[in-house]
Symmetry: C2
DNA sequence: TAGACTACAGAACAGTTGTTCGATTGTAAA
DNA sequence: TTTACAATCGAACAACTGTTCTGTAGTCTA
């Protein structure tokens, strides 16, 4: 019963795990077994293999047999971020840019921004817009914010969307509720009033997935 | 003069570059030359080597000679995100958790969140807090938002900080301005009034670096 | 004490992988 | 046409690297 529990690892194993993370950070590719041995002061590759097996059993890493440097961290840091194209700006009196089919295939790395994948919650066909002006403070959105959008022309009740009001010729970010022929647009800031508009006056431009704000 | 300019790459080279990115995304380690050949429909490793040299000359990748899978992307996607410890919640009537010295050394991967490094703008000693309640809507911050903070006890004029008001026993996020003995706390939402407090009543808990909001 | 387990070392083997050389083809410039 | 160069193929070599085997040593438990 004194045996190590599944999630517990020895100090040597923690060393190795940390070394792998650092090496990956520094080089962009994983270390070879001999790199690990040397880096952790182990004088035999078999010892590294031994601990690597433990780490794999305990779920900290994954390995591909017979593949050089085929070590993956279970906390797969790479998979936890996505590249999203920044395709334009969003402001009150302006329709939002609409992503074209090849927005995502043409990797114009200049306009790609990194977003933690957890923020995306599995959404696909996402793109980013930079907010211009203070017209969306009722949506708790500030000038300079980055809004992550998902392509959509319909939204579920209660979801936040970028809505184009045809009559007013205005873009607004609000929670959308269908209510008997009319549509209620509810600001995120509860101190602001909801507005009721006719279904024909609204055009959903996309769902709001996330908001990034940089204060520095 | 018709020769390819430095930044231009052939379609084959773009293919290879894209393949490397995808492979890295999928596996967590770079492809071997033979993986590239197979993945791009090239039947000789020397052709891949040939194009890899071009890509390196043009600055798109870096290579380590004689190292298996020793390919680094110049756009170092890995270096573009940071892990930030999520150490607690922030709410109106509660002092914010203060990070201890070993908050950053003890990698409790459970409470680490990934943040694009561009959002950090070089800030160090950053930590994350989850916002509880709607008390900070004047700061354009919503219930459920993640606030990225930087340890600091002093702030420059105009910077946004988490401020503890001793008399009111309340946390608030505001822009801080020193104005002749007093301090003006300015909400991000311009429709809300600034408040003036005595210097002795404020205690800066940290700078606000960024805000993440997930609507889905 | 014997048995089981963890941790380590050294070495040999085999598979993976980077490198290099020679040869071929197509296009564009001299 | 000749020359130059980009792009390709095939094959062989050498280095890198993962795997495995044989030992040794220390600790804990029955």
């Amino acid at each position: 019963m004194m045996s190590t529990r599944k999630t517990e690892i020895s100090s040597r194993q923690r060393d190795i795990l940390k070394f792998i993370q650092c090496y990956l950070d520094e080089h962009g590719y994983p270390p070879a077994i001999r790199d690990i041995s040397a880096g952790c002061g182990i004088s035999s590759t078999s010892v590294a293999v031994f601990h690597l097996k433990k780490l794999e059993e305990k779920g900290y890493i994954r390995r591909r047999p017979d593949i050089s440097r085929g070590i993956e961290l279970a906390s797969a840091s790479d998979r936890e971020e996505a590249s999203v194209p920044l395709i334009g700006i969003i402001a009150a009196g302006m329709p939002v840019p609409v992503p074209s089919a090849d927005t995502w295939s043409e990797a114009d790395s200049a306009d790609l921004i990194k977003v933690p994948r957890v923020l995306l919650a599995g959404a696909e066909n996402v793109y980013a817009l930079k907010v211009k002006g203070d017209s969306m403070q009722d949506a708790l959105i500030s000038d300079g914010d980055i809004v992550i959008m998902e392509s959509a022309v319909v939204v579920e009740n209660g979801e936040t969307a970028a809505v184009w009001l045809k009559n007013e010729k205005e873009i607004t970010l609000k929670k959308v509720f269908r209510e008997g022929g009319h549509i209620r647009l509810q600001p995120a800031n509860k101190h602001y009033p909801a507005i009721i508009v006719s279904a024909g006056n609204v055009e959903v431009q996309g769902k709001v997935v996330a908001v990034l704000r940089n204060l520095l």
